[in-house]
Amino acid sequence: MGGKKIVCRCNDVTVEDVERLIDSGVTDIEEIKRLLRVGMGPCQGRTCIPIVISILARKTGKRPEEIPLPKARVPIRPVRVEVIVGGADE
Protein backbone atom coordinates (compact mmCIF):
# COMPACT_ATOMS: atom_id res chain seq x y z
CA MET A 1 0.00 0.00 0.00
CA GLY A 2 3.07 2.24 0.41
CA GLY A 3 2.30 5.88 -0.34
CA LYS A 4 -1.28 5.34 -1.57
CA LYS A 5 -3.85 7.78 -0.29
CA ILE A 6 -7.11 5.91 0.31
CA VAL A 7 -10.37 7.78 -0.24
CA CYS A 8 -12.76 4.86 0.22
CA ARG A 9 -11.87 2.24 2.80
CA CYS A 10 -14.74 -0.08 1.88
CA ASN A 11 -13.54 -0.55 -1.70
CA ASP A 12 -9.87 0.52 -1.57
CA VAL A 13 -10.22 3.54 -3.86
CA THR A 14 -7.32 6.01 -3.95
CA VAL A 15 -7.07 9.75 -4.57
CA GLU A 16 -5.30 8.90 -7.83
CA ASP A 17 -8.22 6.68 -8.96
CA VAL A 18 -10.64 9.58 -8.43
CA GLU A 19 -8.39 12.12 -10.14
CA ARG A 20 -7.73 9.85 -13.13
CA LEU A 21 -11.48 9.29 -13.68
CA ILE A 22 -12.25 13.02 -13.45
CA ASP A 23 -9.38 13.72 -15.90
CA SER A 24 -10.95 11.22 -18.33
CA GLY A 25 -14.05 13.44 -18.43
CA VAL A 26 -16.37 11.80 -15.88
CA THR A 27 -17.43 14.65 -13.61
CA ASP A 28 -20.94 13.68 -12.46
CA ILE A 29 -20.75 12.43 -8.89
CA GLU A 30 -23.41 9.77 -9.55
CA GLU A 31 -21.18 8.36 -12.28
CA ILE A 32 -17.98 8.59 -10.21
CA LYS A 33 -19.78 6.74 -7.43
CA ARG A 34 -20.80 3.85 -9.68
CA LEU A 35 -17.56 3.49 -11.61
CA LEU A 36 -15.32 3.51 -8.53
CA ARG A 37 -17.93 2.18 -6.08
CA VAL A 38 -17.21 4.98 -3.61
CA GLY A 39 -20.14 5.25 -1.24
CA MET A 40 -21.47 1.83 -2.22
CA GLY A 41 -19.82 -0.11 0.61
CA PRO A 42 -21.02 -0.74 4.15
CA CYS A 43 -20.11 2.79 5.33
CA GLN A 44 -22.65 4.22 2.85
CA GLY A 45 -20.33 7.02 1.84
CA ARG A 46 -19.77 8.59 5.21
CA THR A 47 -16.00 8.60 4.80
CA CYS A 48 -15.42 8.85 1.09
CA ILE A 49 -18.10 11.12 -0.36
CA PRO A 50 -16.95 14.37 1.32
CA ILE A 51 -13.39 13.66 0.13
CA VAL A 52 -14.55 12.91 -3.42
CA ILE A 53 -16.57 16.13 -3.41
CA SER A 54 -13.53 18.16 -2.35
CA ILE A 55 -11.38 16.57 -5.09
CA LEU A 56 -14.14 17.14 -7.66
CA ALA A 57 -14.53 20.76 -6.55
CA ARG A 58 -10.80 21.38 -6.85
CA LYS A 59 -10.59 19.72 -10.28
CA THR A 60 -13.63 21.43 -11.78
CA GLY A 61 -13.24 24.86 -10.16
CA LYS A 62 -16.62 24.59 -8.41
CA ARG A 63 -17.39 25.24 -4.78
CA PRO A 64 -18.05 22.04 -2.78
CA GLU A 65 -21.58 23.18 -1.93
CA GLU A 66 -22.38 23.39 -5.66
CA ILE A 67 -21.86 19.64 -5.99
CA PRO A 68 -24.95 17.66 -5.00
CA LEU A 69 -24.58 14.65 -2.72
CA PRO A 70 -25.26 11.36 -4.50
CA LYS A 71 -28.52 9.66 -3.68
CA ALA A 72 -28.41 8.01 -0.24
CA ARG A 73 -29.61 4.42 -0.10
CA VAL A 74 -31.48 2.64 2.65
CA PRO A 75 -30.65 1.09 5.05
CA ILE A 76 -28.69 3.91 6.67
CA ARG A 77 -26.60 1.31 8.49
CA PRO A 78 -26.16 -2.34 7.48
CA VAL A 79 -28.88 -4.56 8.99
CA ARG A 80 -28.71 -8.32 9.44
CA VAL A 81 -31.12 -10.15 7.16
CA GLU A 82 -32.57 -12.20 10.05
CA VAL A 83 -33.61 -8.98 11.79
CA ILE A 84 -35.72 -8.06 8.76
CA VAL A 85 -37.23 -11.47 7.97
CA GLY A 86 -37.87 -12.27 11.65
CA GLY A 87 -37.71 -15.67 13.27
CA ALA A 88 -40.94 -17.06 11.81
CA ASP A 89 -40.49 -19.53 8.97
CA GLU A 90 -43.72 -19.35 7.07
Binding site: N11, S24, V26, D28, E30, E31, R34, L35, R37, M40, G41, P42, Q44, R73, V74, P75, P78, V79, R80, V81, E82, I84, V85, E90
Partner: protein
Protein backbone atom coordinates in the same frame (compact mmCIF):
# COMPACT_ATOMS: atom_id res chain seq x y z
CA UNK B 1 -23.11 10.56 -43.99
CA UNK B 2 -26.32 11.40 -42.18
CA UNK B 3 -26.82 13.16 -38.87
CA UNK B 4 -28.71 10.92 -36.50
CA UNK B 5 -30.11 11.94 -33.12
CA UNK B 6 -30.32 9.27 -30.43
CA UNK B 7 -32.62 10.15 -27.53
CA UNK B 8 -31.81 8.36 -24.28
CA UNK B 9 -28.39 7.80 -22.73
CA UNK B 10 -29.02 4.33 -21.34
CA UNK B 11 -27.32 1.22 -22.62
CA UNK B 12 -29.54 0.97 -25.74
CA UNK B 13 -28.97 4.58 -26.79
CA UNK B 14 -25.25 4.62 -26.03
CA UNK B 15 -24.56 1.26 -27.69
CA UNK B 16 -26.59 2.22 -30.77
CA UNK B 17 -24.74 5.56 -31.00
CA UNK B 18 -21.48 3.59 -30.99
CA UNK B 19 -22.71 1.17 -33.69
CA UNK B 20 -23.94 4.07 -35.86
CA UNK B 21 -20.58 5.84 -35.56
CA UNK B 22 -18.86 2.58 -36.54
CA UNK B 23 -20.95 2.65 -39.72
CA UNK B 24 -19.69 6.18 -40.42
CA UNK B 25 -22.73 8.17 -39.31
CA UNK B 26 -22.67 11.50 -37.47
CA UNK B 27 -24.42 11.01 -34.14
CA UNK B 28 -25.76 13.35 -31.46
CA UNK B 29 -26.80 11.57 -28.26
CA UNK B 30 -29.11 13.24 -25.73
CA UNK B 31 -29.51 12.20 -22.09
CA UNK B 32 -31.65 14.41 -19.88
CA UNK B 33 -30.10 13.22 -16.60
CA UNK B 34 -26.72 11.47 -16.21
CA UNK B 35 -25.78 8.54 -18.45
CA UNK B 36 -27.39 5.29 -17.33
CA UNK B 37 -29.63 7.03 -14.81
CA UNK B 38 -32.94 5.70 -16.17
CA UNK B 39 -32.92 1.92 -15.97
CA UNK B 40 -29.46 0.66 -16.97
CA UNK B 41 -27.67 1.56 -13.74
CA UNK B 42 -30.48 0.06 -11.67
CA UNK B 43 -30.49 -3.36 -13.29
CA UNK B 44 -29.59 -6.71 -11.75
CA UNK B 45 -26.67 -7.34 -14.19
CA UNK B 46 -28.06 -10.60 -15.66
CA UNK B 47 -27.72 -11.81 -19.25
CA UNK B 48 -29.62 -14.90 -20.41
CA UNK B 49 -30.73 -16.79 -23.48
CA UNK B 50 -33.17 -18.88 -21.42
CA UNK B 51 -36.35 -17.44 -22.93
CA UNK B 52 -39.44 -19.42 -23.87
CA UNK B 53 -40.15 -18.24 -27.44
CA UNK B 54 -38.18 -18.40 -30.67
CA UNK B 55 -37.71 -14.63 -31.24
CA UNK B 56 -36.24 -13.86 -27.83
CA UNK B 57 -34.10 -17.03 -27.74
CA UNK B 58 -32.57 -16.25 -31.16
CA UNK B 59 -31.99 -12.60 -30.34
CA UNK B 60 -30.36 -13.41 -27.00
CA UNK B 61 -28.24 -16.20 -28.48
CA UNK B 62 -26.80 -13.61 -30.85
CA UNK B 63 -26.50 -11.04 -28.08
CA UNK B 64 -24.54 -13.44 -25.85
CA UNK B 65 -22.18 -14.11 -28.75
CA UNK B 66 -21.64 -10.35 -29.06
CA UNK B 67 -21.18 -10.05 -25.28
CA UNK B 68 -18.46 -12.72 -25.46
CA UNK B 69 -16.38 -10.49 -27.74
CA UNK B 70 -17.32 -7.11 -26.30
CA UNK B 71 -14.38 -6.59 -23.91
CA UNK B 72 -12.00 -7.11 -26.80
CA UNK B 73 -13.97 -4.92 -29.19
CA UNK B 74 -14.40 -2.03 -26.73
CA UNK B 75 -10.93 -2.44 -25.26
CA UNK B 76 -12.15 -2.28 -21.67
CA UNK B 77 -13.02 -4.45 -18.70
CA UNK B 78 -16.81 -4.70 -18.52
CA UNK B 79 -17.04 -7.44 -15.91
CA UNK B 80 -18.56 -9.95 -18.33
CA UNK B 81 -18.59 -13.43 -16.83
CA UNK B 82 -20.48 -16.54 -17.97
CA UNK B 83 -21.56 -17.79 -14.58
CA UNK B 84 -24.90 -19.17 -15.83
CA UNK B 85 -28.55 -18.99 -14.87
CA UNK B 86 -30.18 -21.72 -12.80
CA UNK B 87 -33.97 -21.94 -12.74
CA UNK B 88 -35.43 -24.22 -10.08
CA UNK B 89 -38.64 -26.27 -10.31
CA UNK B 90 -40.88 -26.78 -7.28
CA UNK B 91 -43.35 -29.25 -8.87
CA UNK B 92 -43.54 -32.05 -11.45
CA UNK B 93 -45.59 -29.77 -13.72
CA UNK B 94 -42.80 -27.22 -13.66
CA UNK B 95 -40.20 -29.88 -14.44
CA UNK B 96 -42.25 -30.74 -17.56
CA UNK B 97 -42.46 -27.07 -18.54
CA UNK B 98 -38.68 -26.74 -18.05
CA UNK B 99 -38.14 -29.76 -20.34
CA UNK B 100 -40.23 -28.16 -23.10
CA UNK B 101 -38.34 -24.85 -22.76
CA UNK B 102 -34.98 -26.63 -22.80
CA UNK B 103 -35.96 -28.48 -25.98
CA UNK B 104 -36.85 -25.19 -27.68
CA UNK B 105 -33.65 -23.49 -26.48
CA UNK B 106 -31.52 -26.45 -27.61
CA UNK B 107 -33.16 -26.26 -31.06
CA UNK B 108 -31.65 -22.79 -31.51
CA UNK B 109 -28.25 -23.75 -30.12
CA UNK B 110 -28.65 -22.62 -26.51
CA UNK B 111 -27.02 -25.35 -24.35
CA UNK B 112 -29.50 -25.44 -21.45
CA UNK B 113 -29.93 -28.79 -19.71
CA UNK B 114 -31.93 -30.27 -16.84
CA UNK B 115 -29.81 -30.96 -13.77
CA UNK B 116 -30.50 -32.72 -10.48
CA UNK B 117 -30.16 -31.06 -7.11
CA UNK B 118 -26.77 -32.65 -6.34
CA UNK B 119 -25.30 -30.87 -9.34
CA UNK B 120 -27.18 -27.69 -8.46
CA UNK B 121 -25.61 -27.78 -4.98
CA UNK B 122 -22.14 -28.03 -6.52
CA UNK B 123 -22.85 -24.96 -8.65
CA UNK B 124 -24.44 -22.97 -5.80
CA UNK B 125 -22.93 -24.08 -2.47
CA UNK B 126 -25.32 -22.07 -0.28
CA UNK B 127 -28.42 -23.45 -2.06
CA UNK B 128 -31.22 -25.05 -0.05
CA UNK B 129 -31.97 -28.06 -2.26
CA UNK B 130 -34.91 -29.36 -0.21
CA UNK B 131 -37.81 -27.45 -1.87
CA UNK B 132 -36.69 -28.16 -5.44
CA UNK B 133 -36.98 -31.12 -7.82
CA UNK B 134 -34.68 -30.11 -10.68
CA UNK B 135 -32.97 -27.18 -12.32
CA UNK B 136 -32.73 -25.71 -15.83
CA UNK B 137 -29.06 -24.78 -16.19
CA UNK B 138 -27.42 -22.79 -18.96
CA UNK B 139 -23.72 -22.27 -18.21
CA UNK B 140 -23.44 -19.73 -21.05
CA UNK B 141 -25.84 -17.27 -19.46
CA UNK B 142 -23.92 -14.50 -17.83
CA UNK B 143 -23.61 -11.23 -15.98
CA UNK B 144 -21.74 -7.99 -16.63
CA UNK B 145 -21.13 -4.68 -14.89
CA UNK B 146 -23.71 -2.17 -16.20
CA UNK B 147 -21.63 0.87 -15.18
CA UNK B 148 -18.44 -0.31 -16.85
CA UNK B 149 -20.27 -1.61 -19.93
CA UNK B 150 -22.11 1.65 -20.58
CA UNK B 151 -18.95 3.74 -20.13
CA UNK B 152 -16.90 1.38 -22.31
CA UNK B 153 -19.45 1.89 -25.12
CA UNK B 154 -19.55 5.64 -24.43
CA UNK B 155 -15.76 6.10 -24.55
CA UNK B 156 -15.48 4.24 -27.86
CA UNK B 157 -18.49 6.15 -29.24
CA UNK B 158 -16.84 9.47 -28.37
CA UNK B 159 -13.55 8.34 -29.90
CA UNK B 160 -15.50 7.68 -33.09
CA UNK B 161 -16.89 11.20 -33.00
CA UNK B 162 -20.26 10.81 -31.26
CA UNK B 163 -21.42 14.07 -29.68
CA UNK B 164 -22.77 12.62 -26.42
CA UNK B 165 -24.49 15.13 -24.15
CA UNK B 166 -25.81 14.49 -20.68
CA UNK B 167 -28.01 16.78 -18.60
CA UNK B 168 -29.46 17.76 -21.97
CA UNK B 169 -33.18 17.22 -22.34
CA UNK B 170 -35.01 16.87 -25.64
CA UNK B 171 -37.99 19.23 -25.48
CA UNK B 172 -39.42 19.00 -28.97
CA UNK B 173 -39.24 17.42 -32.42
CA UNK B 174 -39.97 19.24 -35.67
CA UNK B 175 -41.91 17.14 -38.14
CA UNK B 176 -42.62 17.68 -41.84
CA UNK B 177 -44.99 15.10 -43.29
CA UNK B 178 -43.76 11.68 -42.22
CA UNK B 179 -40.26 12.80 -41.28
CA UNK B 180 -38.57 14.45 -38.29
CA UNK B 181 -36.38 17.34 -39.43
CA UNK B 182 -34.98 18.82 -36.21
CA UNK B 183 -34.55 18.13 -32.51
CA UNK B 184 -35.00 20.87 -29.92
CA UNK B 185 -33.10 20.41 -26.69
CA UNK B 186 -32.46 22.26 -23.46
CA UNK B 187 -29.12 22.46 -21.73
CA UNK B 188 -28.21 24.83 -18.86
CA UNK B 189 -31.60 26.49 -19.28
CA UNK B 190 -30.98 27.34 -22.95
CA UNK B 191 -33.06 25.83 -25.78
CA UNK B 192 -31.30 25.05 -29.06
CA UNK B 193 -32.15 23.10 -32.17
CA UNK B 194 -30.24 20.75 -34.45
CA UNK B 195 -31.23 19.56 -37.94
CA UNK B 196 -31.32 15.78 -38.26
CA UNK B 197 -31.77 13.12 -40.94
CA UNK B 198 -33.06 10.46 -38.55
CA UNK B 199 -34.05 10.04 -34.89
CA UNK B 200 -33.97 7.01 -32.59
CA UNK B 201 -36.22 7.00 -29.54
CA UNK B 202 -34.24 4.93 -27.03
CA UNK B 203 -35.75 6.44 -23.91
CA UNK B 204 -37.43 3.26 -22.61
CA UNK B 205 -39.83 4.30 -19.80
CA UNK B 206 -39.89 7.85 -21.18
CA UNK B 207 -40.50 6.74 -24.79
CA UNK B 208 -44.24 7.62 -24.92
CA UNK B 209 -43.34 11.28 -24.15
CA UNK B 210 -40.88 11.37 -27.07
CA UNK B 211 -43.40 9.68 -29.39
CA UNK B 212 -45.87 12.40 -28.47
CA UNK B 213 -43.29 15.05 -29.44
CA UNK B 214 -43.15 13.33 -32.84
CA UNK B 215 -46.88 13.93 -33.23
CA UNK B 216 -47.81 10.32 -32.48
CA UNK B 217 -50.35 9.18 -29.93
CA UNK B 218 -48.79 8.74 -26.52
CA UNK B 219 -50.18 5.21 -26.22
CA UNK B 220 -49.31 4.11 -29.78
CA UNK B 221 -46.54 2.17 -28.07
CA UNK B 222 -48.15 1.66 -24.66
CA UNK B 223 -45.09 1.50 -22.41
CA UNK B 224 -45.73 1.76 -18.68
CA UNK B 225 -43.13 2.09 -15.94
CA UNK B 226 -43.29 -0.59 -13.27
CA UNK B 227 -41.25 -0.12 -10.14
CA UNK B 228 -38.87 -3.00 -9.48
CA UNK B 229 -36.51 -3.14 -6.56
CA UNK B 230 -33.29 -4.85 -5.57
CA UNK B 231 -31.61 -5.48 -2.26
CA UNK B 232 -27.92 -6.17 -1.84
CA UNK B 233 -25.94 -7.74 0.97
CA UNK B 234 -22.43 -7.09 2.15
CA UNK B 235 -19.70 -8.88 0.13
CA UNK B 236 -19.54 -12.65 0.62
CA UNK B 237 -16.79 -15.05 -0.32
CA UNK B 238 -16.81 -15.58 -4.10
CA UNK B 239 -18.37 -18.70 -5.53
CA UNK B 240 -21.32 -18.96 -3.12
CA UNK B 241 -24.05 -18.02 -5.63
CA UNK B 242 -22.35 -16.89 -8.83
CA UNK B 243 -25.18 -17.83 -11.23
CA UNK B 244 -28.55 -16.16 -11.15
CA UNK B 245 -30.66 -18.62 -9.14
CA UNK B 246 -34.43 -18.37 -9.51
CA UNK B 247 -37.45 -20.50 -8.63
CA UNK B 248 -40.05 -18.91 -10.95
CA UNK B 249 -42.89 -20.28 -8.79
CA UNK B 250 -41.76 -18.10 -5.88
CA UNK B 251 -42.80 -14.80 -7.46
CA UNK B 252 -39.67 -15.01 -9.64
CA UNK B 253 -37.50 -14.38 -6.59
CA UNK B 254 -33.81 -14.65 -7.36
CA UNK B 255 -30.31 -14.20 -6.02
CA UNK B 256 -27.07 -13.51 -7.89
CA UNK B 257 -23.61 -12.72 -6.55
CA UNK B 258 -22.45 -9.32 -7.79
CA UNK B 259 -19.52 -9.71 -10.15
CA UNK B 260 -17.71 -6.73 -8.63
CA UNK B 261 -17.74 -7.06 -4.88
CA UNK B 262 -19.39 -10.44 -4.22
CA UNK B 263 -22.45 -9.03 -2.44
CA UNK B 264 -25.67 -10.95 -3.10
CA UNK B 265 -28.23 -9.09 -5.19
CA UNK B 266 -31.77 -10.20 -4.29
CA UNK B 267 -34.70 -9.52 -6.60
CA UNK B 268 -38.30 -10.66 -7.09
CA UNK B 269 -41.19 -10.09 -9.44
CA UNK B 270 -43.03 -8.03 -6.85
CA UNK B 271 -43.94 -5.11 -9.09
CA UNK B 272 -46.26 -2.13 -9.02
CA UNK B 273 -47.00 0.44 -11.66
CA UNK B 274 -44.90 3.48 -10.76
CA UNK B 275 -46.82 6.50 -9.50
CA UNK B 276 -44.71 8.70 -11.77
CA UNK B 277 -41.42 8.64 -13.66
CA UNK B 278 -39.76 9.96 -10.50
CA UNK B 279 -41.14 7.17 -8.30
CA UNK B 280 -37.98 5.21 -7.47
CA UNK B 281 -38.31 5.13 -3.70
CA UNK B 282 -37.62 1.68 -2.22
CA UNK B 283 -40.26 0.18 0.08
CA UNK B 284 -40.00 -1.77 3.33
CA UNK B 285 -42.60 -4.29 2.11
CA UNK B 286 -40.33 -5.24 -0.75
CA UNK B 287 -37.29 -5.52 1.49
CA UNK B 288 -39.08 -7.95 3.77
CA UNK B 289 -40.77 -9.83 0.94
CA UNK B 290 -37.66 -10.40 -1.15
CA UNK B 291 -35.49 -11.39 1.81
CA UNK B 292 -38.04 -13.99 2.96
CA UNK B 293 -37.61 -15.68 -0.41
CA UNK B 294 -33.84 -15.18 -0.45
CA UNK B 295 -33.33 -17.02 2.86
CA UNK B 296 -35.48 -19.90 1.60
CA UNK B 297 -33.30 -20.16 -1.52
CA UNK B 298 -30.04 -19.77 0.44
CA UNK B 299 -30.49 -20.08 4.24
CA UNK B 300 -27.01 -18.75 5.20
CA UNK B 301 -28.05 -15.34 3.84
CA UNK B 302 -29.93 -14.97 7.13
CA UNK B 303 -26.60 -14.01 8.74
CA UNK B 304 -25.49 -11.52 6.08
CA UNK B 305 -26.08 -7.79 6.39
CA UNK B 306 -28.16 -5.80 3.92
CA UNK B 307 -26.16 -2.79 2.75
CA UNK B 308 -28.37 -1.24 0.12
CA UNK B 309 -31.76 -1.25 -1.54
CA UNK B 310 -32.77 0.64 -4.64
CA UNK B 311 -35.51 0.80 -7.26
CA UNK B 312 -35.77 1.27 -11.00
CA UNK B 313 -38.25 0.70 -13.80
CA UNK B 314 -39.21 -2.17 -15.98
CA UNK B 315 -40.51 -0.17 -18.95
CA UNK B 316 -43.19 -2.68 -19.86
CA UNK B 317 -45.26 -3.20 -22.96
CA UNK B 318 -48.51 -5.22 -22.73
CA UNK B 319 -46.67 -8.39 -23.90
CA UNK B 320 -43.34 -7.66 -22.15
CA UNK B 321 -41.56 -7.68 -25.51
CA UNK B 322 -39.76 -4.51 -26.58
CA UNK B 323 -40.91 -2.26 -29.43
CA UNK B 324 -38.13 -2.20 -32.03
CA UNK B 325 -38.52 -0.71 -35.49
CA UNK B 326 -39.65 2.22 -37.54
CA UNK B 327 -42.49 4.56 -36.51
CA UNK B 328 -42.20 7.22 -39.27
CA UNK B 329 -40.02 7.51 -42.38
CA UNK B 330 -36.95 8.47 -40.34
CA UNK B 331 -38.16 8.04 -36.75
CA UNK B 332 -37.24 4.79 -35.04
CA UNK B 333 -37.87 3.24 -31.66
CA UNK B 334 -36.07 0.71 -29.47
CA UNK B 335 -37.83 0.88 -26.10
CA UNK B 336 -40.12 -0.95 -23.70
CA UNK B 337 -37.53 -3.58 -22.86
CA UNK B 338 -39.54 -4.85 -19.88
CA UNK B 339 -36.41 -5.58 -17.84
CA UNK B 340 -34.29 -6.98 -20.68
CA UNK B 341 -32.58 -3.93 -22.17
CA UNK B 342 -29.14 -4.48 -20.68
CA UNK B 343 -28.86 -8.10 -21.82
CA UNK B 344 -30.29 -7.37 -25.29
CA UNK B 345 -28.29 -4.20 -25.94
CA UNK B 346 -25.33 -5.59 -27.94
CA UNK B 347 -27.66 -7.29 -30.44
CA UNK B 348 -30.36 -4.63 -30.59
CA UNK B 349 -27.84 -1.78 -30.98
CA UNK B 350 -26.18 -3.52 -33.91
CA UNK B 351 -29.54 -4.33 -35.55
CA UNK B 352 -30.93 -0.84 -35.02
CA UNK B 353 -27.80 0.92 -36.34
CA UNK B 354 -27.83 -1.27 -39.45
CA UNK B 355 -31.54 -0.64 -40.00
CA UNK B 356 -31.12 3.14 -39.71
CA UNK B 357 -27.91 3.33 -41.76
CA UNK B 358 -28.51 0.64 -44.40
CA UNK B 359 -32.23 -0.05 -44.29
CA UNK B 360 -31.71 -3.70 -43.30
CA UNK B 361 -29.75 -5.78 -40.82
CA UNK B 362 -28.07 -9.16 -40.74
CA UNK B 363 -28.74 -9.55 -37.01
CA UNK B 364 -31.23 -12.39 -36.34
CA UNK B 365 -33.83 -9.99 -34.96
CA UNK B 366 -37.43 -10.83 -35.82
CA UNK B 367 -38.66 -7.38 -36.85
CA UNK B 368 -42.26 -8.54 -37.18
CA UNK B 369 -42.25 -9.95 -33.63
CA UNK B 370 -41.03 -6.64 -32.14
CA UNK B 371 -43.03 -4.39 -34.54
CA UNK B 372 -43.93 -1.20 -32.63
CA UNK B 373 -47.29 -0.98 -34.43
CA UNK B 374 -48.46 -4.39 -33.15
CA UNK B 375 -50.24 -2.87 -30.14
CA UNK B 376 -52.35 -0.58 -32.30
CA UNK B 377 -53.31 -3.58 -34.42
CA UNK B 378 -54.13 -5.55 -31.28
CA UNK B 379 -51.62 -8.27 -32.14
CA UNK B 380 -49.93 -9.10 -28.88
CA UNK B 381 -47.11 -11.64 -28.76
CA UNK B 382 -46.82 -14.39 -26.21
CA UNK B 383 -45.43 -12.78 -23.09
CA UNK B 384 -41.64 -12.64 -22.98
CA UNK B 385 -40.42 -14.70 -20.04
CA UNK B 386 -39.79 -12.07 -17.40
CA UNK B 387 -38.31 -12.55 -13.96
CA UNK B 388 -37.64 -10.09 -11.16
Amino acid sequence: MSRIAVIGGGIIGVATAYELAKLGEEVVLFEKNYFGSGSTFRCATGIRAQFTDEANIKLMKHSVERWEKLEEELGADIGFNQTGYLFLATSEEEVEAFKANIKLQNRFGVPTRLIDMDEAKEIVPILNTEPFLAGAWNPKDAKANPFKTLFAYLRRARELGVDAREHTEVVGLEREGEAITAVKFRSNGKVESVKVDAVLNASNAWAPLINEMAGLKRDLVPIKAYKHQLVKTEPLERGQAEPLVCPPAWEDAYIIQDGEDGGIICGAGIEHEAKSLEDVEPTYDFLRGVLRYAVRIAPPLRYAHVVRQWAGFYAKTPDSNPAIGKLLDNFYIAAGFSGHGFMMAPAVAQAMAELISKGRSKVPLDWEWYDPYRFERGELRSSAFQIG
